[in-house]
C-alpha cells in the first residue's frame, strides 16, 4: 500500500469516484480511481495506532482487485472523508468499513463491465490483476485506460455484491503495517511533527480544579492574570485569557514553557469537591436514575428463596487512558479560514465544537487528522486543538500547542469509576437462584474543555446512558434483573477501552466464580451450564484445552511464601447504544504468583482466546490481543487515579504507574479460525475478561476474594492478613513555611539580619561605643599593566576559591557587576559591583582600602559591611594572595552598574551595630601554619579556613550568628540546604576518605556520597580554577577531621544490595519506581550522566530531609559539570503529599537504620517557598 503522504487528493484529468450524496450540496467520496491507475479510499474513522489503515487498505485492494501497494487510505481530513462519527467501540472494521468495501466492489463492477464492452468479451471471461483487465485472448486494458479523461461519478449503491470470502487473496493474509517504516526512521508521522511556516508555540495554563469539568466554578474561577510577570521572557507574543482559559504564545517553545510556568495567575478558591478517597461511598452518594435493562423471571422471589444468599459488591477505580504522548495540535486562523492539524478521534465532531467555540460556520473549519499517541478512548486531543485555535485566533499566526505531561494526566477525561452490586444466591442444587445486578457509572460526556473554560457552553453536567455495556451477563440465568443507575460525572470522564463492559464483566465473572466455588463445581464447567451461545462454548472449550485447564471442583490450599493460582474469565464485549451488539468473543486463562509476605502479584501467563470472525489482517489481530492483554493486566494490577480534595493529583508516571517490561506476562494467543463469518471489532474485546480472570486466579492462589482492583500489594496484604490500611492523612489546610534562616543567619543570600536583631539588644552598647572606620581616599583606577600576568592569574584562582562571583554576579548578568538580589526575611539586599568601575565599582579603591574591607569588613568610605560578606574568613589570607586578588579584580573589564538600594526595614539598616558584632566574633589575624602538620595539611587549612570559607556554611552558628568555634565544620545550613558535617559527625553511611573528598571537590561527584548540588555546585565549579595539588591539600586537611576510612567498596556493595527495591508496595515506592529509579537504580542501563546511588547518598542518611526535598523539588539544573548529567525538578509535577510520601519512602528504604524524618511536610513547604 502506498504511503499516506498526501491528504490533498490531487485531481487527475479523469477519474472514477464512488460517492454518497448527503444533500443537494454535500456528497461524500469513498473511492477515487484516477487515470494513472492510483486508488484513494476515504474513511471517516482514524487510525488510533491499531493498524486500521493497513486493514482498510487490504479490504479495498481485495474488492477492487488491485495490489495492496496501489491503495492510499485517506483518514480523518474533514474536507475529504465521509462523516462516519467518532472512532469508537471497535467498530471501524465491523461497521465503518462496510460502505467502503461496497464502494470498491461497485467500482470494480463498473470497470469490468466497461472492459467487457471495450474488449468485446464476456465479463466472466475476464481476469483482473492489479487493476489490469485481461481477456482470454490476452488483450488487456487497465483501470486507468478505462477511465481515461472522463469524470465518472457513481452513487454508492446498497445492494452491491461483494466478493465471496473463498475468493479472498489479500484479506485474511497477514500484511505488514504500512506506517511502521516511517515511524521507525523518524519521518513526519504524528501531529506533533507538523511544522507550518511562521508557526509560533503556545502553552496553556489550566485552572486549579484539576480534572473536574462540571459545576458553577468551571469557567468562572479566574481572578487575574499578571502579564508583567512574564514581561522578561524573550519572544513572548501574547498572553491570552478568555474566562478560565489562559494561554501564552511565544516564538520559541522553551520560552512558551517558561512563560506558562512563570505567569502569575490568581484563581478563586475551588469549592469543596467530591471526596474520592473512597470511590464506593462517592458513587453510592451520587444521585442517579435507575434504568432497567432486563427483568426476567421473578428475581425477588428467587433470591428470597435462595438456599445460600450471596450479596457482593465490586468496585472499579478511576483510571487513565495514559497516552504516552501528551496531546498536541496546530491551528492556523487566517483570513477567515480555519485549519487545524489534530490527533482527534472524531474529526467531524471536533469540527462542530471548533465552529461553536469561535462562532464561525463549520464550512470555514478544516480538521486535518494526523496520528497521535495511542489513546484507547478519548484523551486531550480535542481539547488541545481547541486551545491552539483560540491562541492562533488571538495572534493571527499558526500556533502549535503541546500539553504538558502534567496537564494530560490531570485533565484527560478519565476512564470512570464504577460500582456494581450483585444480589443473588445459590439454589439447593448449587445453581444460580437469581441474579440482580445494579451498576453505577458516572457519565462521560467530557465536553471539549475550551468550550467550558471560555463559557461558550454551560458547565452543567450531562447524564448519559453509558454504564450499560455488557451489563447483562452472558449467562442464561432464569431469574435476572439488571439496572443501570445513570448519573452525572464526578470528575471529567470519557469512554476508555472496554467502556463499562470491563467493570461489568469483572462483576459477572467474579460472581460466577464465587458461585462455582460455593457450589463445589469447576468454574469452567459451571459457566458452561449457563452459556448457550455455541461460539462462546467453542471458545471456552478451546481456551481451556489450550491452557491445559485441569478441572477443580474444590480449590486446593497452597503452601509457601509464593503461592500460584489459575483463573478463568469469559466475555462477549457488547458495546454501543443499548442493547448494542457484540464485538469479538474473548476468554482468558491466567496464571498468577502471589507473594504472601510482600503482597506482590505477578501475572505470569495469559492464554487469551478470541473469536473475531473474519480476520482482515491476522497479525494485526494478534497484536491487538497482545496489547489488550498487557494494558488490561496493567489496569488490573496497578492503575488507579489518585485525588486530593477531589482534584486529580497524579500528574506523572510515578503517581500513575503502568506496567513495565519485566512485569509483562507470557502471552499465548489462540485465534479461532472463523474466516467464513463477518469480521468483528478486535480493538477492545481481549481486555474485557482481564480483571476477573486475574482476581479469580488470585483467589485460587490465596483463597481470598478481591473485589476491587487494582490488586496492589497493599490491597493483597490487607486481604490476606486483614491489616488495617494506612488511613489517608487529612491534608493540612496550608502550612506557612517556617524560616530556617536562624540556623545560619550569615549564609550568603540568607542574610545576616537575625543576628543583627539580637545584636541590637545585646551589643548595642559596644556598637555605640566604637566609631566606624575612617574613609580611605579614592584613587584613580590602578593600571592593571603593573601586575604580571602570573599575579593576575593567581588572583583569578583565588577569586574562584573565594566563590566571589557567585554573589557578586546577577543571574544572567555581567561577571562581578553585582546587583544580585539576596532575599532575607528583613528585606532585600543587593550585592555590590566589584569590577574596577571608578564610580559604581571598586576602581577608586586603593589596595589598603581593599585589604581593609577584606580583613576588617569596612567599606572604603568607612561604613561597616554586612558579614554576609565573609571577611571573617578572608582576613586569614596572606599578603601576597591578597595583592594578587586585588590585581585580578583591578584587571577585569570595568562595568558601570549600580546595585539597587537595599530594601531593609529599621533597625536592620543600621550598619554601625556591626562594629559590636565584630568586636565579639571577628578574629582579624592572618593564618598561621601548624608546624606539627604536613605542608599539604597546612596548605589545605589555609585554603579551607581562608578564602574557601568552608565553615561559613558547614559550621553551626551561635545565637548571635557567629560560627561556633567549638563545633568547627560540624554542619550548618545555607540557602535552605543543609551543609553537612565535614567531620566524624558526618551522616554519610560510608565515611569520607581523602580520595573521595578529592574526587568530590575536583569533579563534583563521589561514587560513595553523591553529587554536589544546591549552593555546593557553584563552589565546586569555581574550584576548577585551582590545581590538583591545592584540591588534594584541601582533601588532606578536611580528611583530618574524619575517622579512619572503611572498606568502602565492600560496604557500598553491602548497602546497595540490602536496599534494592523489589516490590512497590506504597505510594512512595511507586513514585520512586516511576520517577527516580531510571537514573538511580543500581545496575540499570547506563544513561548519560552519573547514576548516584541512593543507598550511599549522604543526604538520605542526614538528620534532616532538607537536601533531599530541595533536590526533588528543584532538581539539578546547574551541575558542576555536564558530564554528571542533570536532574529534573519534580516540584511542578508532584503535590506536597506525594513528595512527602516519596521522601518518607526513600529514607526508610535507603537509610533503614536511621529514624524516620519528622516535619517533612514543613520542610517541603519551606523549600517550595524558597527561590532555589
Amino acid at each position: 500500500m502506498a504511503s499516506p503522504v498526501s491528504n490533498g487528493a490531487e485531481r487527475q484529468s479523469g477519474s472514477l469516484v464512488v460517492v454518497r450524496t448527503a444533500d443537494e450540496v454535500t456528497s461524500e467520496t469513498f473511492i477515487r480511481i484516477t487515470a494513472d491507475g492510483s486508488v484513494s479510499a476515504y474513511n471517516g474513522h482514524v487510525d488510533l495506532g491499531t493498524g486500521i489503515r493497513t486493514a482498510l487498505g487490504q479490504i479495498v485492494a481485495e474488492e477492487l482487485d488491485v495490489s495492496f501497494a496501489r491503495v492510499v487510505i485517506v483518514l480523518g481530513d474533514t474536507a475529504l472523508v465521509p462523516n462516519q462519527g467518532a472512532t469508537i467501540a471497535s467498530e471501524t472494521i465491523q461497521i465503518t468499513a462496510v460502505p467502503l468495501r461496497k464502494a470498491a466492489a461497485q467500482a470494480r463492477q463498473f470497470l469490468i463491465a466497461r472492459a467487457a464492452e471495450q474488449l468485446e468479451q464476456l465479463e466472466g471471461d475476464l481476469r483482473i490483476e492489479d487493476g489490469l483487465v485481461r481477456g482470454h485472448d490476452n488483450r488487456s486494458v487497465s483501470y486507468g485506460e478505462l477511465i481515461g479523461g472522463e469524470d465518472i461519478r457513481l452513487e454508492l449503491a446498497d445492494d452491491v455484491t461483494v466478493k465471496a470470502v473463498g475468493d479472498y487473496a489479500i484479506v485474511g493474509q497477514s500484511v505488514p503495517r504500512v506506517d511502521l517504516p516511517a515511524k521507525a526512521t523518524g519521518e513526519l508521522t504524528f501531529v506533533h511533527d507538523i511544522r507550518v511556516p511562521g508557526m509560533l508555540h503556545g502553552r496553556v495554563v489550566r485552572p486549579p480544579y484539576s480534572g473536574v469539568d462540571a459545576g458553577p466554578f468551571v469557567g468562572t474561577s479566574l481572578i487575574a492574570v499578571d502579564e508583567s510577570s512574564v514581561r522578561d521572557i524573550p519572544g513572548l507574543v501574547a498572553v491570552v485569557r478568555i474566562g478560565d482559559f489562559v494561554g501564552v504564545v511565544a516564538e520559541r517553545e522553551e520560552n512558551a514553557i517558561r512563560a506558562a510556568e512563570q505567569l502569575k495567575v490568581s484563581w478563586k478558591p475551588t469549592p469543596s469537591l467530591t471526596d474520592l478517597s473512597d470511590v464506593e461511598t462517592a458513587l453510592r452518594a451520587n444521585p442517579s436514575t435507575p434504568r432497567t435493562l432486563i427483568d426476567k423471571g421473578d428475581v425477588d422471589a428467587a433470591i428470597s428463596g435462595a438456599a445460600k444468599p450471596m450479596q457482593r459488591t465490586y468496585v472499579w477505580p478511576y483510571q487513565m487512558h495514559a497516552s504516552i504522548g501528551p496531546s498536541c495540535a496546530v491551528a492556523d486562523v487566517q483570513d477567515g479560514n480555519i485549519r487545524v492539524w489534530s490527533g482527534t478521534q472524531n474529526p467531524h465532531v471536533l469540527r462542530s465544537d471548533l465552529a461553536l467555540l469561535v462562532e464561525r460556520p463549520e464550512s470555514e473549519v478544516e480538521v486535518i487528522r494526523l496520528e497521535a499517541a495511542g489513546c484507547y478512548g478519548r484523551n486531550c486531543a480535542d481539547d488541545v486543538t481547541a486551545d491552539a485555535l483560540l491562541l492562533s485566533r488571538a495572534v493571527g499566526r499558526p500556533v502549535r500547542v503541546q500539553l504538558t505531561r502534567e496537564q494530560e494526566h490531570a485533565w484527560e477525561p478519565k476512564g470512570t469509576a464504577q460500582l456494581i452490586d450483585v444480589n443473588g444466591g445459590l439454589d439447593t442444587d448449587g445453581g444460580i437462584a437469581g441474579y440482580d445486578l445494579a451498576t453505577r457509572y458516572p457519565s462521560n460526556a467530557a465536553p471539549t474543555l475550551a468550550l467550558l473554560l471560555t463559557g461558550r457552553i454551560s458547565p452543567e453536567p450531562a447524564v448519559l446512558q453509558m454504564g450499560d455495556r455488557t451489563a447483562i451477563p452472558p449467562y442464561d440465568y432464569d431469574h435476572m434483573r439488571v439496572v443501570a443507575h445513570d448519573m452525572a460525572p464526578i470528575v471529567r470522564a470519557s469512554w476508555f477501552r472496554g467502556v463499562s463492559a470491563l467493570p461489568n464483566t469483572f462483576a459477572h465473572e467474579s460472581y460466577i466464580d464465587e458461585a462455582a466455588t460455593e457450589a463445589g463445581v469447576d468454574p469452567i464447567e459451571y459457566r458452561l451450564r449457563y452459556l448457550k451461545d455455541p461460539r462462546a462454548v467453542d471458545l471456552v472449550n478451546a481456551v481451556a484445552e489450550r491452557a491445559g485447564w485441569t478441572p477443580r471442583p474444590v480449590r486446593e490450599e497452597k503452601d509457601g511464601e509464593v503461592v500460584h493460582g489459575r483463573g478463568f474469565a469469559y466475555a462477549l464485549y457488547v458495546h454501543s447504544k443499548f442493547p448494542g451488539y457484540g464485538a469479538a468473543w474473548s476468554a482468558w486463562v491466567t496464571d498468577v504468583a502471589v507473594n504472601k509476605t510482600t503482597g506482590d502479584v505477578s501475572v505470569t501467563r495469559v492464554v487469551a482466546g478470541q473469536d473475531s470472525g473474519l480476520m482482515i489482517n491476522p497479525d494485526g489481530v494478534r497484536h491487538q490481543i497482545h496489547g489488550n492483554v498487557i494494558q488490561s493486566t496493567s489496569r488490573a494490577l496497578m492503575e488507579e487515579v489518585s485525588f486530593e480534595r477531589g482534584a486529580v493529583v497524579a500528574r506523572e508516571w510515578g503517581a500513575y504507574p503502568i506496567i513495565p517490561f519485566p512485569d509483562v506476562p507470557k502471552i499465548d494467543v489462540l485465534m479461532l479460525p472463523r474466516q467464513d463469518q463477518p469480521p468483528l471489532g478486535v480493538g477492545e474485546s481481549a481486555s474485557v475478561p482481564s480483571a476477573a480472570a486475574i482476581a479469580n486466579a488470585i483467589f485460587d492462589a490465596t483463597g481470598v476474594r478481591f473485589r476491587e482492583p487494582p490488586f496492589t500489594p497493599e490491597r493483597i496484604l490487607k486481604g490476606l492478613h486483614g491489616e488495617t490500611p494506612a488511613t489517608p492523612k487529612a491534608l493540612p489546610a496550608s502550612i506557612s513555611p517556617q524560616s530556617r534562616i536562624w540556623e545560619n543567619p550569615f549564609a550568603k543570600r540568607a542574610g545576616i539580619f537575625a543576628a543583627i536583631a539580637a545584636v541590637c539588644t545585646a551589643a548595642i552598647g559596644i556598637g555605640a561605643a566604637l566609631l566606624p572606620g575612617r574613609a580611605i581616599a579614592p584613587i584613580a583606577r590602578p593600571d592593571a599593566s603593573v601586575y604580571s600576568a602570573a599575579t593576575i592569574a593567581r588572583g583569578q584562582q583565588l577569586a574562584a576559591l573565594g566563590n566571589c562571583a557567585e554573589c557578586h554576579t546577577n543571574i544572567g548578568g555581567v561577571l562581578n557587576a553585582g546587583g544580585r538580589a539576596l532575599e532575607t526575611p528583613f528585606g532585600m539586599i543587593y550585592s555590590t559591583n566589584i569590577t574596577p568601575d571608578v564610580e559604581t565599582g571598586i576602581g577608586a579603591w586603593s589596595y589598603p582600602a581593599f585589604e581593609r574591607a577584606m580583613r576588617d569588613g569596612l567599606h572604603r568610605d568607612g561604613r561597616q559591611l554586612y558579614p554576609a560578606f565573609p571577611y571573617t574568613h578572608f582576613a586569614k589570607t596572606g599578603d601576597a594572595d591578597m595583592q594578587a586578588l586585588y590585581a585580578y579584580l583591578m584587571a577585569q573589564p570595568s562595568v558601570r552598574a549600580t546595585a539597587p538600594t537595599n530594601e531593609l526595614a529599621f533597625p536592620f539598616n543600621l550598619r554601625p551595630l556591626l562594629a559590636g558584632w565584630n568586636a565579639l566574633f571577628h578574629d582579624t589575624k592572618e593564618f598561621k601554619p601548624d608546624p606539627a602538620k604536613s605542608d599539604a595539611w597546612n596548605r589545605g587549612a589555609y585554603l579551607v579556613e581562608g578564602l574557601g570559607h568552608c565553615s561559613g556554611c558547614h559550621s553551626p552558628r551561635n545565637a548571635l550568628g557567629a560560627e561556633q568555634r567549638n563545633a568547627y565544620l560540624a554542619g550548618g545550613f545555607a540557602e535552605g540546604w543543609e551543609a553537612p558535617p565535614l567531620t566524624s559527625l558526618s551522616h554519610a553511611p560510608i565515611p569520607w576518605s581523602e580520595d573521595e573528598l578529592f574526587a568530590y571537590l575536583r569533579t563534583g561527584h563521589s561514587r560513595y556520597h553523591g553529587v554536589a548540588a544546591g549552593p555546593m555546585a557553584p563552589v565546586v565549579r569555581d574550584l576548577k580554577a585551582l590545581p590538583d595539588q591545592d584540591i588534594r591539600a584541601m582533601a588532606v586537611y578536611l580528611n583530618s577531621f574524619n575517622d579512619s576510612a572503611a572498606d568502602a567498596p565492600a560496604l557500598a556493595a553491602k548497602l546497595e544490595s540490602a536496599t534494592q527495591v523489589t516490590v512497590a508496595s506504597s505510594t512512595g515506592a511507586r513514585l520512586y519506581r516511576g520517577a527516580c529509579a531510571v537514573c538511580h537504580e543500581v545496575g540499570g542501563l547506563p544513561l548519560f550522566g552519573s547514576r548516584p546511588s541512593l543507598a550511599l547518598n549522604s543526604n538520605l542518611h542526614s538528620a534532616t530531609s532538607d537536601n533531599l526535598v530541595q533536590v526533588i523539588l528543584h532538581g539539578i539544573a546547574h551541575p558542576v559539570s555536564s558530564d554528571l548529567g542533570y536532574m529534573p525538578a519534580f516540584g511542578n509535577s508532584m503535590s506536597d503529599a506525594q513528595v512527602e510520601e516519596l521522601v518518607t519512602f526513600l529514607r526508610k528504604q535507603f537509610a533503614p537504620d536511621k529514624p524516620a524524618w519528622t516535619g517533612v511536610r514543613e520542610t517541603i513547604a519551606r523549600a517550595r517557598a524558597s527561590a532555589h
Binding site: 521507525a184 497484536h623 529509579a1077 542501563l1085 548529567g1125
Partner: protein, 160 residues
C-alpha cells in the same frame, strides 16, 4: 540568560544553535533541527520517548539542557538509518511489527541501540531490564522484545 551559540554534532553533522542554554536538548532537536525522532513524553526523564544517544550513551533529551551538549556527539533516530537503508535495529523493529501507535518507538529503538552497544547479545532478562524505564501504553512489549532479540541475532532463543 546565556545565549551564546552552542556547537555540537548531530547525526554526523556539526550544528551551531543559538538558544538559551537551559533549553532542553529535545526542543532544539525538534524545533531548530526539525527532527521528528525524539518525542516529548513527560519532560521528566521518566518515559523514554525522547531518547537520543549522547556520546554513545542513551540520554533522555527532555531533561538535558542544550548548554550541556556543547562539543558532544548526538545521534537521533534519523541518524541510524532511513526507510531505504534502515539500521539493523530499525529493521528488526519493522520486521517484528514492533509498534502500535509508535509514539514510544523512538525510545525503544534508541535504548536498544545503546544496550546492544554495551551488550551485543543480551539475554531476554537483560533486555527486559534495559527497557524497564521505557514506557509503552499500547502493549507492544512482546513484539518489542522480539525485535531486540532479532536485532542482536538471537531470535531463535526469543521465539516462544
Amino acid at each position: 540568560m546565556t545565549q551564546t551559540p552552542i556547537r555540537f554534532t548531530v547525526n554526523g553533522r556539526i550544528h551551531e544553535v543559538t538558544a538559551e542554554h537551559q533549553t532542553p536538548l529535545l526542543y532544539v532537536l525538534r524545533n531548530d533541527l526539525a527532527l521528528n525522532g525524539p518525542k516529548y513524553g513527560c519532560g521528566l526523564g521518566e518515559c523514554g520517548t525522547c531518547t537520543v544517544l549522547i556520546d554513545g550513551a542513551a540520554a533522555r533529551s527532555c531533561v538535558i539542557p542544550v548548554g550541556g551538549c556543547a562539543g558532544r556527539d548526538i545521534v537521533t533516530l534519523e541518524g541510524l538509518g532511513t526507510r531505504d537503508k534502515p539500521d539493523v535495529v530499525q529493521q528488526a523493529f519493522i520486521d517484528e511489527q514492533a509498534a502500535q501507535c509508535g509514539y514510544c518507538l523512538n525510545g525503544m529503538i534508541m535504548t536498544t541501540k545503546a544496550l546492544l552497544a554495551i551488550n551485543p547479545q543480551p539475554t531476554e532478562q537483560e533486555a527486559l531490564s534495559a527497557l524497564r524505564y521505557n514506557l509503552c501504553r499500547c502493549g507492544t512489549h512482546v513484539e518489542i522484545l522480539r525485535a531486540v532479540m532479532r536485532a542482536s541475532g538471537q531470535l531463535a532463543e526469543a521465539a516462544d
